[in-house]
């Protein structure tokens, strides 16, 4: 019992943000409800990003009604590899990454094979709202499969790693690289067992990682060290993040960026309720950084100001990553 109070006090001192505080003090006051659809519906997010001149994975097609499921094989005919995802999905659920074909079958990233019928069923489930928040009817998006930058090859088990940056009113406050593992089934989702490495905001170099609730320094499947990897295009990434506030109007959001070998950084999705595990990846509390950003905000007028502030103040403080 005493131990709990001690833990609580230590977490408080380290500025660790809990889910209640995140909701009560950041999400509820700073994320206007009318802005949610912009990020909850990935089709809308894509339009928004296109308008703002930000690169996103190319949209091959949208399936909105059950009738269109029949035309799915025709729609997919021209693409060897693609991604099927629900427009309103959460936590990476309901996403199928097709990496190629084997005769009439689709080969998914986890190695399983699907026929047209199974693919149609999956799309029907998406339309019925199985994966959407609150079970509302949904759309299925078919889009470009990212050929991820080989920089994370050594520390990824299948799937697509991505970079998550938390942005508070235009100030990038914390970042992590999410690396799929065997446990996560190739998904870059920490809840499902992916690992997340912290990122030094100043340099864009990776730090140690969190796996479940533990700190790890090697990728559990490949055994390679996860720290000290330089994220390419870090300047672009952090600027993209800083600009996303004006794009959506959400004061507290997570922006997920993938690095494509050929196309560079692409915005995968935005998240109005980003998770808190990022704090463990960085071994730093979000609360401290958010307070700092809040205090300095009036002085930060331009995107460049905010980027400079983030790189300056949120540099990794501890011993330099190996």
């Amino acid at each position: 019992m005493m131990n709990w109070f001690r833990t609580r006090a230590l977490l408080e001192r380290n500025g660790v943000l809990g889910i209640n505080r995140r909701n009560a003090e950041y999400i509820l006051p700073h994320n206007p409800r009318n802005c949610y659809p912009l990020v909850d519906d990935k089709a809308l997010t894509k339009q928004l990003a296109a308008k703002a001149g930000v690169a996103v994975p190319e949209l091959y097609g949208v399936i909105e009604i059950q009738q269109q499921v029949r035309g799915l094989p025709q729609m997919l005919m021209n693409y060897r590899d693609f991604v099927v995802k629900p427009a309103r999905g959460s936590q990476g659920d309901g996403i199928i990454v097709v990496t190629g074909r084997s005769r009439a079958l689709y080969r998914a990233a986890d190695g399983s094979l699907l026929d047209d019928h199974e693919m149609g069923f999956h799309v029907s489930n998406i339309l019925a709202g199985v994966y959407s928040l609150g079970g509302q009817a949904d759309k299925a998006l078919i889009e470009y499969r990212v050929n991820f930058d080989p920089v994370f090859e050594a520390i990824t088990y299948r799937g697509v790693p991505d970079v998550r940056i938390i942005v508070y009113r235009g100030v990038p406050v914390m970042a992590m690289v999410r690396l799929p593992t065997r446990l996560s089934g190739g998904k870059a989702n920490l809840h499902q067992g992916a690992i997340g490495t912290g990122v030094d905001m100043a340099t864009g170099k990776t730090l140690t990682a969190v796996w479940r609730t533990e700190i790890v320094s090697e990728h559990p499947d490949t055994g390679n060290p996860v720290s000290g990897v330089q994220i390419p295009h870090w300047d672009t990434l952090i600027e993209l993040a800083a600009r996303s506030y004006e794009m959506t109007g959400l004061g507290y959001q997570g922006i997920d960026i993938v690095l494509d070998r050929d196309k560079g950084p692409l915005i995968l999705e935005l998240n109005a309720r980003p998770g808190l595990a990022i704090q463990m990846a960085n071994q730093a509390g979000l609360g401290t950084r958010l307070k700092l950003a809040e205090r300095e905000l009036p002085a930060l007028r331009t995107v460049a100001d905010r980027v400079a502030f983030a790189r300056d103040r949120f540099a990794h403080a501890g011993p330099a990553a190996a």
Partner: protein, 507 residues
């Protein structure tokens, strides 16, 4: 600013709630604790029938004082009807409701307030009984002679004779003399009727008594039947089953003989429902009588002013907010993960009917079997809504099968599985399947266990007698519950589970 607003609102709500509570507690003298000793009962009969359009008359037997129970107060609520009571010799007292013209469905009420007698009424006010030998045909007479003869041989007095007759009827093998007299599938009422006839046949005056067991909260009370025989100068009771013998002070005799409780002329489809409840209001009747008229009105406009059936419903409804507040704490302060926001509270409500152990067992069986079916349906690749509908149907089938099975095995509790919220169970099964497939069995089971654990905790709190009593007698306490819930709406501290989750950051 928002905070101040919230604190003000919560403060005002809590003040109103606690103020009303203390006024009722200290000034009006409502009991704080459910008092075990004040067994004051309310009995309500609702009669319904379809009037034919012309004059209608309904007769209803009403209970009378017994050795152990006194009828303190009774009322006939019947708009437009004239009511007279008349004794019906040999049966009891009958109330007759009559009206010149009645159309459509008619509802009539009879209410009585019953208290245990302080002094047992030993003097039987019934006149000396006359023996009424039953009308048997030849075959019945032979069977009756056989039965009574056997009983008489083994008995020493009227009392043992009567109980031997009852015993031989209750344990009647089909095809024997007793079985022949009783007919196929005898009800307890039929057994009592035949027993009364046989005891009369043996020369001892006897009669069947119909009555109800007074229970704290019964929405559809059923009649119990027992016997009285006349010996040693007074009527003596003879109970047909053991459970009645235990509770003479809760057994309300209603009328005697095998005539129906109510009859109608000038109408059809007469139905009756009887509800009973333990009355708290009356425990403070003396206090209430001294209040001014305005305050009496206040009491009239409370939940006590409702018909008994609705009161029973509100006893349940009023504890739900307590369960919900607990749920809020368990989710937002402790950090339990559950399927569906309010599912555990609904499960807890079902537990109130089934009891805890059975409730958990039934819940696990239904969800387990449902999951099996759901995994099978997965292979058929059905669309969402028809798939959910199929699971609902399967869940209902499982519940029906379990009910029949457990009843046949002699588990009375099984009868209440039907009260489980079927749609909620279905959604649980569906969500659980998805979590199972997306996140693995561990996470699914963890959430299921979380849901049941929260359900059990809500049940334990909602089922406390003091909680039920407090919120029914002092509904204004709900304002206080609301105030606390509102305050939790701004709780921004860590959840207990987060202390574990973020423990690596506590350096």
């Amino acid at each position: 600013m928002k905070r101040l607003h919230l604190y003000l609102l919560a403060g005002i709500l809590a003040a109103i709630g606690l103020g009303g509570f203390s006024h009722k507690l200290f000034v009006l003298g409502f009991p704080f604790q459910p008092d075990e000793r004040t067994d004051v009962w309310r009995v309500e009969v609702q009669l319904k029938f379809e009037a034919a359009g012309g004059p209608a008359k309904v007769s209803l037997f009403v209970p009378r004082r017994t050795e152990d129970l006194v009828i303190v107060d009774q009322s006939f609520v019947s708009p437009g009807y004239g009511v007279v009571t008349e004794p019906k010799p040999g049966h009891g007292i009958r109330a007759a409701y009559s009206i010149r013209e009645a159309h459509g469905t008619q509802s009539l009420y009879y209410r009585a307030v019953i208290q245990p007698a302080r002094v047992r009424d030993e003097v039987s006010r019934d006149p000396a009984p006359a023996l009424e030998p039953p009308q048997f045909d030849d075959a019945q007479r032979v069977a009756a002679e056989g039965l009574v003869g056997a009983a008489r041989q083994r008995s020493s007095d009227a009392g043992t004779l009567a109980s031997l007759v009852v015993k031989s009827l209750k344990e009647a093998p089909p095809g024997g003399e007793a079985g022949f007299l009783l007919g196929p599938r005898p009800t307890s009422r039929r057994i009592a009727t035949v027993a009364a006839q046989l005891i009369q046949f043996a020369g001892v005056p006897a009669r069947m008594v119909n009555g109800i067991v007074l229970a704290p909260e019964r929405r559809d009370a059923q009649f119990a039947h027992w016997l009285q025989f006349y010996a040693d100068g007074r009527w003596q009771p003879l109970y047909m089953n053991e459970s009645d013998r235990m509770v003479p002070h809760q057994l309300l005799a209603w009328w005697r003989g095998s005539v129906p409780i109510a009859e109608v002329s000038g109408g059809s489809a007469l139905r009756h429902t009887i509800s009973t409840s333990r009355s708290y209001e009356l425990a403070t009747r003396t206090a209430l009588n001294q209040q001014r008229a305005l305050e009496k009105k206040l009491i009239e406009f409370s939940l006590f002013g409702l018909p008994l059936q609705s009161q029973a419903l509100f006893r349940t409804l009023m504890v739900i907010p307590v369960g919900i507040l607990l749920l809020v704490i368990l989710r937002n302060v402790v950090g339990f993960k559950t399927f569906g926001t309010f599912m555990p509270v609904l499960i807890a409500l079902a537990f109130r009917q089934t009891g805890l152990v059975w409730g958990i067992a039934f819940f696990s069986i239904v969800v387990g079997l449902g999951l099996g079916v759901r995994f099978y349906l997965e292979r058929l690749k059905l669309l969402l809504v028809p798939r959910l509908a199929s699971v609902v149907i399967v869940v209902i089938l499982i519940i029906a099968a379990l009910t029949v099975l457990s009843f046949k095995l002699g588990l009375e509790r099984g009868l209440s599985i039907g009260l489980f919220p079927i749609v909620i169970m279905t959604m649980t099964i569906e969500r659980m399947t998805l979590v199972w497939e997306e996140r693995g069995a561990g996470e699914a089971l963890q959430q299921a266990l979380g849901s049941v654990a929260v359900g059990v905790m809500c049940y334990l709190v909602m089922n406390l007698r003091i909680v039920e009593h407090l919120f029914f007698v002092f509904p204004e306490l709900l304002l206080t519950v609301l105030a606390v819930t509102l305050l939790f709406g701004r709780y921004s501290g860590y959840r207990l589970t987060e202390l574990y989750r973020f423990r690596v950051l506590a350096r």
